[in-house]
């Protein structure tokens, strides 16, 4: 009886571990396949949207970068919005940073085309996304740099008056809000 139980237990362990081996092999195959997709997207070639179902959020992040590089901003935003809460803190910081980049690039384009009404909210969204990225990872240097770019784009909005900087007084600031980078400086 004992031997029978022992043999049955061993068979159970063998079956479970064999299943785990198959599962891990499948996981390795998936990782290799998804890394190849990310390389394909980084080289400027799109992948079939059907492949994204069930894929890791990193693949969608790579696809959002691909869309942004092709100036397909709406698709980039839609892709990023699907993975906002996915992954660990480092990945979430990257997602928010890339989201800020999509907004900032559009804001810069609109500001340079003198479409200030469109540029203002986009720059505001970019700053918000960068701040979220930095709240997740305060050592994210690229996010710091681009946040500074976004804040220079709307310099008056962020000018500090130390005597009048309480939350209650923020909306009453008299600064003009013409976006654009300062020109003609040394």
């Amino acid at each position: 009886m004992t031997r029978t139980l022992r043999n049955a237990a061993l068979w159970g362990v063998l079956l479970a571990s064999s299943f785990a081996v198959v599962y891990e092999l499948w996981a390795l195959y998936r990782i290799d396949r998804e890394n190849a997709w990310m390389q394909q997207l980084a080289s400027g070639h799109d992948i079939d949207i059907g492949k994204l179902v069930g894929a890791e959020p990193e693949v969608r992040l790579a696809r959002a970068v691909y869309f942004k590089n092709k100036h397909r901003y709406d698709e980039a935003l839609a892709t990023l919005s699907l993975i906002m809460d996915a992954g660990d803190r480092a990945l979430q910081a990257k997602i928010r940073y890339n989201l800020g980049n999509v907004y900032l690039e559009q804001a810069v384009e609109q500001a340079e085309a003198k479409h200030f009404n469109e540029a203002l909210p986009l720059a505001g969204l970019a700053k918000q996304a960068y701040r979220q990225a930095l709240a997740l990872d305060s050592r994210f240097w690229d996010a710091k740099y681009n946040l500074e770019v976004a804040m220079r784009l709307l310099p008056e909005m962020d000018r500090i008056d130390l005597k009048d900087d309480s939350p209650d007084n923020r909306k009453s600031k008299p600064w003009t809000t013409v976006p654009g980078f300062p020109r003609g400086l040394p």
Partner: protein
């Protein structure tokens, strides 16, 4: 390293009409006051020791979130412990700066008042404002690249790591191999372990015998039992054999038949019909083989 910005600030506040101060010791521990850039976190620690059961009122601490346009309080932790008749508080504040200066600029983290209370009496202890300098990351001169205004590029996702599945594969593979080897050992499939394949080999020999070779068949099965018992096994020693190998007790009737048949053949010269006896012997050997494999 943090430096001690302010030493010990003796509390001057008094509790209501009491002559004793509410606070016996206050320290504000701060980091260096220079070299910060946008997005940096600044950590402050406040240590307060109170007297006579005076407690800190948590509502007087700054609230987590945006303190003003450029300063966030990301985290606030308060630890409370007993110290003498009062309490010792350690307050950790994590600020984050979001200001983009054009040049090195001095900013100030605003001070606040800690409210300490005992019953319906309260007193306040001021935590001073903390000035520091913030530097720009970006030069004032316009810098352009192919896309216009220079910006840092997108963050590419990291390649997916294979560490987890590789480790899982190794562990699962080792367990599978170990359990498979264990089963092979129990079933007598491992070479070099004859005691696990005694009846397997005996069964093979019995299968090759013809119906007239009962003597060889009986000898083969005796040898198998002797090998298992590590010494010659006779009928009167079966009880001891069962004690050592209790799983064979279930074949007691068939083993009794075998020994009776063997005794009659070798000592009384009375032989059962060869094919019939050999057939029973083969069945007995197969049953022993099943026990040997652990499947019975």
């Amino acid at each position: 390293m943090r430096t001690l910005l302010t030493g010990i600030l003796l509390a001057l506040a008094l509790l209501g009409c009491s002559d004793r101060p509410a606070v016996s010791d206050v320290e504000l521990l701060t980091p260096r006051p220079f070299g910060y850039v946008i997005g940096d976190e600044i950590q402050h620690r406040i240590r307060v020791e109170t007297r006579n059961g005076v407690k800190l009122q948590a509502g007087s601490l700054p609230r987590q979130g945006a303190l003003n346009r450029w300063l966030n309080l990301n985290d606030i932790k308060v630890e409370e412990s007993r110290a003498g008749g009062g309490f010792r508080y350690t307050i950790d504040l994590t600020y984050q700066v979001f200001y983009a200066p054009n040049e090195v600029k001095m900013l100030t983290i605003p001070g606040f008042n800690l409210v300490l209370g005992q019953g319906d009496k309260t007193a306040e202890q001021a935590v001073p404002a903390w000035p520091f300098t913030l530097s720009p990351l970006r030069e004032l001169a316009v810098r352009l690249d192919d896309t216009g205004e220079y910006k840092r590029p997108d963050a590419m996702p990291p390649a997916l790591r294979t560490d987890g599945p590789v480790l899982g594969l190794l562990v699962a593979g080792l367990i599978a191999v170990a359990s498979g080897a264990g089963l092979a050992y129990l079933y007598g499939y491992l070479p070099g372990l004859p005691r696990r394949s005694i009846f397997k080999r005996a069964g093979g020999k019995l299968a090759r015998l013809s119906g007239q070779e009962l003597e060889q068949g009986l000898t083969v099965f005796h040898e198998a039992l002797n090998a298992l018992n590590r010494q010659p096994l006779f009928k009167h020693k079966l009880a001891g054999f069962y004690r050592q190998h209790p799983q064979y007790r279930q074949l007691g009737d068939q083993l009794d038949w075998f020994f009776n048949c063997s005794n009659r053949y070798f000592f009384a010269g009375e032989a059962e019909p060869g094919p019939e006896a050999l057939g029973r012997l083969r069945k007995l050997c197969a049953a022993c083989r099943e026990i040997e494999r652990g499947s019975r």
